[in-house]
């Protein structure tokens, strides 16, 4: 049911662990309904706003709902319930109510779903205060963050999963993943030549690029923020102040997460000076994602594009 099957195993464990966890989706595993009952595992009509609004009411009154939105593009259908209501309730009730709920959805994979259904819209949700946004770069982190999302109380969590994470899934590690606090970046490789910050499905390409560069003796600091809200500004700023170079890598558009991350970093004292304009982006063009694979080929943050971006910043002109 989920693009990343291992998340279903985690969710099943969490359903088992906490009787307040309820699951809402248009399609649910019969084995879960048999095991946890139709009260906690709810097959719903194709009514995403109803599911998310109901999840909010349930969360406010003591349940821990998880809604599987299926594709990230369906998150646009639920903007009112999610943004105007779920993301606002704790604030507007001056802390009286909480909305601990989780929304999962799949972003882009090379699935040729085309302009409507292949999207990385997490940048949009970074602009809506009151939701936390997790975009893990590995299956293991996806599992860890799902556990955290289900266990903490702070408010709505959006968990965006790249279908490609399934291709490189270390099942054993993923299943064993302990909850991981939000807002802690993962350093995948250390180096001083440049900071490479990669998001979601682009992490894999950046890892390959970093390995290729390392073979030439260029060592980059490769970071995966794992969550965009909250964002680990301290870790990324430390790296950028040290390297003086930043490459932002994402399979979504530059105007989304990368632009917002960069503007946040530029507020860190001394960081703009340290960078001195040595900033590069590897991201999708600012158009919808076309279906044809030859058109879509340009919409991926490939290792080659990341290597080229690092070279551009590290080669003296």
């Amino acid at each position: 049911m989920n693009e990343l099957a291992v998340l279903d195993l985690i969710l099943e464990q969490e359903l088992d662990r906490n009787p307040d966890v309820v699951f809402l989706a248009t399609s649910t595993p019969p084995s879960w309904r048999a095991r946890f009952g139709a009260g906690r595992v709810r097959t719903c009509p194709i009514s995403e706003p109803a599911m998310v609004g109901a999840a909010l009411g349930a969360a406010m009154t003591g349940l821990r709902p998880v809604v599987d939105l299926n594709r990230a593009s369906f998150a646009f259908l639920v903007m009112d319930q999610l943004v105007n209501h779920a993301a606002r309730i704790h604030y507007l009730s001056d802390g009286a109510y909480r909305a601990p709920m989780v929304l999962t959805s799949a972003t882009r994979g090379p699935q040729q779903l085309g302009p409507q259904n292949e999207q990385c819209p997490y940048g949009v949700f970074m602009q809506t205060p009151g939701v936390r946004v997790a975009v893990p770069g590995s299956a293991t982190d996806a599992c860890a963050l799902l556990r955290t999302a289900l266990r903490d109380e702070q408010g709505p969590v959006l968990l965006f999963i790249a279908p490609g994470l399934a291709d490189h899934c270390d099942l054993r590690a993923a299943l064993a993943a302990e909850p991981q606090p939000f807002g802690v970046a993962r350093r995948i490789r250390g180096g001083d030549a440049a900071t490479v910050l990669a998001i979601g499905s682009a992490v894999r390409a950046a890892e390959q690029a970093a390995a290729d560069l390392a073979a030439e003796g260029v060592l980059v600091d490769l970071l995966d923020p794992r969550t965009l809200v909250p964002f680990d500004t301290a870790a990324v700023a430390e790296s950028v102040l040290r390297t003086g170079r930043l490459v932002l890598v994402d399979d979504g558009p530059r105007s989304g997460a990368p632009a917002q991350i960069l503007s946040g970093l530029l507020d860190v004292p001394g960081l703009a000076e340290a960078l001195g304009g040595r900033i590069a982006h590897v991201s999708a063009p600012e158009v919808p994602i076309p279906s044809s694979p030859v058109l879509e080929a340009q919409f991926w943050a490939t290792p080659e594009r990341v290597v080229a971006a690092v070279r551009r910043l590290t080669t003296p002109s």
Binding site: T26, S27, T43, C44, P45, I46, S47, P49, A50, S73, F74, L77, Q111, Q112, L113, G114, P115, Q116, N117, P285, E286, V287, P288, P290, S291, S292, P293, V294, L295, E296, A297, Q298, F299
Partner: protein, 338 residues
């Protein structure tokens, strides 16, 4: 799941006699084309020539063909992800459609859309990948006809799953009150992906839902081309006469599965249910009707052969069409100033 249409005493029976101007042989030709096409597209998906998911229409052909035969070229159409049948019934060029499904430069939408095609030549506005979302768009096309007084109608096809979406109910209200020349064609196949509709709806006669919105309803056997056509003709006539929208509930069945990616879906349906529906296959039924009415079997056999040749030609066209130029990905985000 009922294999026959359940009786509904609240509604008068629809007059299923063929309407003047309806050519059942032509309908058979189109239905065979759609069936042959769909079979080949599923195979081409397995061979990874088709890109993206394929949502087959096999088993539901009578709905698209019965409805489209009641339309004129000026009318507008909105379809969805399961739209090859609607497109072919509407007269979309099979070559361009196939090239689109193959992601090629000669595709209907230049390789950008895959199955979610648009085609101004046949007034196919949109094939939305978002369940229910096309219905208000069709209402807008009906609004244009109302304002311009051009006598055109708008038709939208959707599955019964779309009735879960709030926007569909909102549009029903708007369309009835504004008397839009809109025809809503609900292909009720009993399933919403892997979920059976009875699990998620309090009322599986979606006709009743439409009635609650005060929308006139035709309930038809969606595997009977003539019955579908009769209902569509009545709905189109009412819309053209300024009487407003109608809702057609066509009961039908997908005899394969919901969707295929690389491999055929492993989805299971109760064997008895599937056998019941296969026995009522729309193609076989129309063929029986034609033979009983005196059509020579050779005429129909020739149409089967024609369909195969047409589909072969479309596949060859798509295979030999070039890939789009990479720069094409960045074109047409904005329309040029006329």
């Amino acid at each position: 799941m009922a294999s026959a249409l359940p009786a509904d005493p609240a509604l008068p029976p629809v007059d299923a006699r063929p309407v003047d101007g309806f050519d059942p042989v032509a309908a058979y030709r189109t239905m065979v084309l759609i069936r042959t096409y769909e079979e080949r597209i599923l195979q081409a998906r397995t061979e990874r020539e088709v890109i993206g998911p394929v949502h087959p229409y096999i088993g539901q052909e009578a709905v698209a063909v019965g409805v489209c035969a009641a339309l004129e070229p000026r009318d507008h159409l909105v379809s969805h992800y399961r739209g090859h049948g609607h497109a072919l019934a509407r007269g979309v060029d099979p070559d361009a459609l196939t090239a689109e499904l193959f992601g090629r430069a000669d595709g209907l939408c230049g390789g950008k859309a895959a199955a979610l095609v648009s085609d101004p030549a046949t007034h196919l506005l949109l094939s939305s990948g978002i369940v229910g979302a096309g219905i208000p768009v069709a209402a807008g096309a009906a609004m244009t006809s109302q304002v311009k007084g051009d006598g055109a109608v708008a038709v939208v096809f959707f599955g019964e799953g779309a009735l879960g979406a709030g926007v569909v109910h909102e549009t029903l209200t708007l369309a009835v009150v504004q008397r839009l020349p809109l025809i809503l064609v609900c292909e009720n196949n009993g399933y919403q992906g892997a979920t059976r509709t009875e699990e998620v709806y309090p009322e599986t006669s979606v006709a009743r839902i439409a009635e609650a919105h005060r929308m006139p309803v035709h309930r038809v056997d969606g595997n009977d081309t003539l019955a579908v056509h009769a209902a569509a003709t009545a709905a189109v006539a009412a819309a053209r006469a300024g009487q407003g929208p109608s809702f057609i509930e066509a009961s039908t069945y997908l005899t394969r599965f919901h969707l295929q990616f690389d491999r055929p879906s492993g989805e299971h349906r109760p064997a008895e249910e599937r056998a019941d529906w296969l026995a009522r296959d729309p193609l076989g039924r129309l063929r029986q009707h034609l033979l009983a009415a005196g059509t020579a079997p050779a005429v129909l056999d020739a149409l089967d052969t024609d369909a195969e040749q047409r589909v072969d030609a479309a596949i060859t066209f798509a295979r030999t069409s070039p890939w789009p130029a990479p720069e094409a990905a960045l074109t047409n985000l904005w329309a040029a100033t006329p």
